[in-house]
């Protein structure tokens, strides 16, 4: 994989491309962009058939190991990598350790292992085991393993341990990566930890940069452990960290921000030269029954808020599309009233329709950002987006709605289990047929 900067402005924001993917040489992923968050290898709520109705070209998928590692036996038997195994062979995948936005219980640590919170509970894994799994996943891009799930106000001792452990694990990753035949077409991304302490953060970055020859990018961790409190704290200090780190990371490396950050923070990150986001924000909105309805056209005002809570009774008889003028399948064929009914009756189609719209619109947010960067008008666009987001927060505050947005923890699996309404004891006994 190759990362090329096509246009960089003095302010730091830049437009680039990811190209040179072995399996699809013609694919170009333009940055800044957001990946599509997956669960169990599938784009959350969307089958490959439905995904092809939303995007007609190969997309960058964000594949957390934690929510997909249960497919290991099949993945191993098939031997062709996670994209193919999960029915999405034409797409580009970026594998990370966790879904950064998901809450994980505080865990104990062992010398050379970090906990991976999977659907089957906690699994302690080493860097060696992590690299074994990468060889099975065969990702186009993957993040090095790190002990990075710490909040900004984490205790000093814990941060030191996290830095130490992450450095050691990173070295193992690099050694294995260089030696691996199976990972020759995969790009390695280093993970900066200890983000709450500027000196330790620099140490972390400097350690990673010692292996710069093997690196394609740098990702930022050590911002949050996924809890509401840590997310809140991180939101407040993020701008400063993104700016300092943006300046410290060499220009030619892809810069990745993991986590469920709101559109205003995303604009700030883009301004400081960050290129890639994990897409958790769009998924979280869909899971909550919310639709992103930002007006992406500078110079025009919109009457609606930039986030609609379609659970609200007010949409009961609103037969207009989620966002008028939106080109997505949901907006072309369905109404707010129908989605509200599906949410009210807890039908799974609500998540499908909202995912289709939110993923499309979130993608448009980045597309417009790239156009503004290329046209040297990004500042205007950034202000336009932030203004809408501020108006939404003000509306929430004025109406006593307590942050149902960014700071709230993300809960993938439990939320979805509730939707499917399946508990193991409900499984009926049935005839068993031998495989044909």
């Amino acid at each position: 994989m190759r990362f090329t900067i096509k246009h960089a402005n003095l302010g730091g924001e830049r437009v680039g491309t990811l190209t040179g993917f072995m399996k699809s040489p013609n694919t170009v992923i333009e940055t800044p962009t957001a990946a599509l968050l997956t669960q169990g290898g599938s784009v959350t709520h969307l089958t490959s058939e439905v995904l092809s109705k939303v995007f007609t070209t190969p997309q960058l998928l964000w594949v957390p190991l934690s929510n997909s590692v249960q497919v290991e036996p099949g993945l191993k038997a098939q031997g062709q990598g996670m994209a193919k195994f999960s029915g999405l062979p034409e797409h580009i995948i970026c594998v990370s350790q966790h879904n950064m936005s998901e809450v994980t219980p505080p865990g104990h640590f062992e010398l050379e292992k970090v906990p991976l919170w999977t659907k089957n509970g906690k699994k302690m894994i080493t860097a060696e085991r992590y690299m074994d799994l990468m060889e099975l996943y065969k990702p186009e891009i993957f993040l090095a393993i790190a002990d990075g799930r710490t909040a900004l106000n984490e205790g000093y001792k814990r941060v030191l341990k996290s830095l130490d452990r992450s450095c050691n694990m990173f070295d193992t990753c690099v050694r294995r990566y260089k030696a691996s035949k199976l990972l020759q077409n995969s790009a390695l991304v280093g993970v900066v930890v200890a983000s709450g302490l500027s000196k330790k953060r620099d140490e972390s970055l400097n350690h990673i940069l010692k292996s710069k020859d093997s690196l394609s990018g740098v990702a930022l961790a050590g911002l949050t452990d996924g809890t509401e409190e840590a997310n809140k704290l991180a939101s407040k200090q993020l701008e400063n960290i993104l700016q300092t780190m943006g300046e410290a990371i060499p220009n030619d490396l892809l810069r990745i921000v993991e986590g469920c950050w709101n559109p205003a923070l995303i604009m700030v990150a883009i301004e400081h030269g960050w290129d890639l986001f994990d897409g958790a924000y769009a998924t979280k909105l869909s899971n909550a029954g919310h639709a992103l309805t930002l007006n992406l056209y500078t110079g025009s005002e919109s009457r609606d808020l930039c986030i609609l809570d379609l659970n609200d009774e007010r949409y009961k008889e609103d037969f207009t599309p989620v966002l008028s003028g939106c080109e997505c399948l949901t907006c072309k064929k369905h109404t707010r009233a129908y989605i509200r009914h599906l949410l009210n009756t807890r039908e799974m189609l609500s998540s499908v329709l909202l995912s289709i719209h939110n993923l499309h619109h979130f993608d448009q947010l980045f597309r417009h950002a790239r156009q503004h960067i290329a046209g040297n008008t990004f500042q205007v666009y950034k202000k336009h987006i932030i203004k809408q987001y501020e108006a939404f927060k003000q509306y929430e505050a004025a109406n006593g709605i307590i942050n149902n947005d960014s700071d709230k923890p993300f809960n993938g699996i439990t939320q979805i289990k509730k939707k499917i309404k399946v508990s193991d004891d409900e499984i009926p006994t049935i005839n068993v047929v031998n495989g044909s």
């Binding site: 169990g40 290898g41 599938s42 009233a337 129908y338 998540s351 044909s436």
Partner: protein
């Protein structure tokens, strides 16, 4: 009075041996090929599938439940939306039930009188009376192509003759009230429901009563409620023997593959059942020999599709091993299995239609039965029902 213009039915081909037939049922929203299986989309949605996906699966008519839709989103919303078709974005045919069955089966407190079904709302505990007129009023709002009369429902295994007789006769009286209350006879068709449970005389009487009415099709009700299969099939056979050959016959609540095959042979044209989509939620996939429970560990490294001969998007793109890893955890797994299971049902109906048209239906049935019961132990009801329509499946 029902108008013929809301439904026309042409029998295109008949099996020379059994009572099976292929027909074309022209409805206001779609021309439906019969025999047809109608997947159940209770609340105005088919378990996570887009209307576009249902169309690619060749679904031509789907079911909605009046009881659920009348509560949520409610008739006000549906009227303002211009009916359920527009509300859910489904352009093909729809059928709604009367709501009576749900009340009796869901609610313990239902009380049935000559006026209607009285029950307490599970939403706000208020007392509600569902009369034949009310049921039709709601169904007129929903706007389905085919709507059901309100019938007096008795548990199929119920024994008390007087109560069964009362229910059967009341169903006929309620049919008259439904037809009288019907406001959109040029756009919607009321189907009467043949009752009488397992009693031959009462069921005959019920079918004959309904035959005298100006209706465009018939439903066979009161079956598939826990009775034995040996008790079930003679009632289907009896009903199709009496009902007008030139009108479609709908057997309510039947959808398991072997039942579909036998009842098509007995002359049934339409079926509905929640089974294919419900079983999908539990991680079960339908195959010609029954079903696969993909949760089982034996599939964790099985790289076959669910069914290598299936043309559905799930079987083209996914292995059993992958599905094993995500069933009952990810919504995507439900969607994938629903797609396959509906494709299975649609495929079964399609092959029955083509075998009837090609004159090879009896051979199809024999093959199907021998594959379904590979040990050759055919249940008596299978043997007897098929022999009744001239298909001999006993091995020589």
């Amino acid at each position: 009075m029902a108008s013929k213009s809301a439904l026309s039915f042409h029998v295109k081909a008949e099996c020379k041996v059994s009572k099976a037939r292929v027909g074309l049922m022209k409805l206001p929203h779609y021309e439906v090929k019969t025999p047809v299986f109608m997947p159940v989309g209770t609340q105005g949605t088919m378990k996570g599938l887009l209307p576009d996906q249902l169309e690619s699966l060749d679904c031509e008519i789907i079911l909605g439940n009046t009881y659920h839709l009348g509560n949520r989103p409610g008739t006000d919303v549906l009227t303002k939306a211009g009916g359920l078709h527009k509300f859910m974005g489904w352009n093909r045919a729809l059928l709604t039930d009367s709501g009576g069955f749900q009340m009796v089966s869901l609610l313990k407190l239902a009380e049935i009188t000559e006026e209607g079904v009285k029950f307490r709302s599970p939403y706000d505990n208020s007392e509600i009376m569902l009369t034949p007129e009310k049921s039709i009023e709601i169904q007129n709002c929903i706007g389905a192509d085919i709507i059901m009369q309100l019938d007096d429902v008795v548990q199929t295994t119920f024994q008390d003759y007087d109560r069964i007789k009362e229910a059967t006769e009341r169903t006929s009286r309620w049919l008259d009230r439904c037809l009288k209350a019907h406001k959109r006879p040029t756009e919607q068709n009321i189907f009467p429901i043949v009752q009488g449970l397992l009693n031959k005389e009462l069921r005959t009487q019920s079918a004959k009563d309904h035959m005298s009415k100006d209706v465009n099709g018939f439903a066979i009700g009161g079956l598939s409620g826990g009775e034995s299969k040996d008790d079930f099939w003679p009632m289907v056979s009896l009903s199709t023997g009496i009902l007008d050959k030139n009108k479609p016959r709908y057997l309510m609540g039947v959808g398991v593959a072997i039942d579909l095959v036998i009842c098509v042979a007995l002359g049934v044209d339409m079926f509905d059942c929640v089974f294919p989509t419900r079983t999908a939620r539990f991680g079960c996939a339908l195959v010609s020999k029954g079903q696969l429970n993909l949760k089982q560990k034996q599939y964790e490294a099985d790289l076959n599709p669910i069914d290598k001969d299936c043309e559905c998007s799930t079987c083209k793109n996914y292995t059993r091993a992958y599905l094993h890893g995500i069933v009952t955890v990810e919504t995507v797994a439900c969607h994938l299995l629903s797609v396959h299971n509906i494709a299975y049902q649609m495929g079964l109906m399609k092959s029955m239609r083509s075998h009837i048209e090609n004159g090879t239906f009896p051979e199809f049935v024999k093959n199907f039965v021998s594959e379904y019961y590979p040990d050759g132990n055919y249940p008596s009801w299978v043997v007897n029902s098929l022999s009744k329509v001239g298909i001999n499946v006993v091995k020589n």
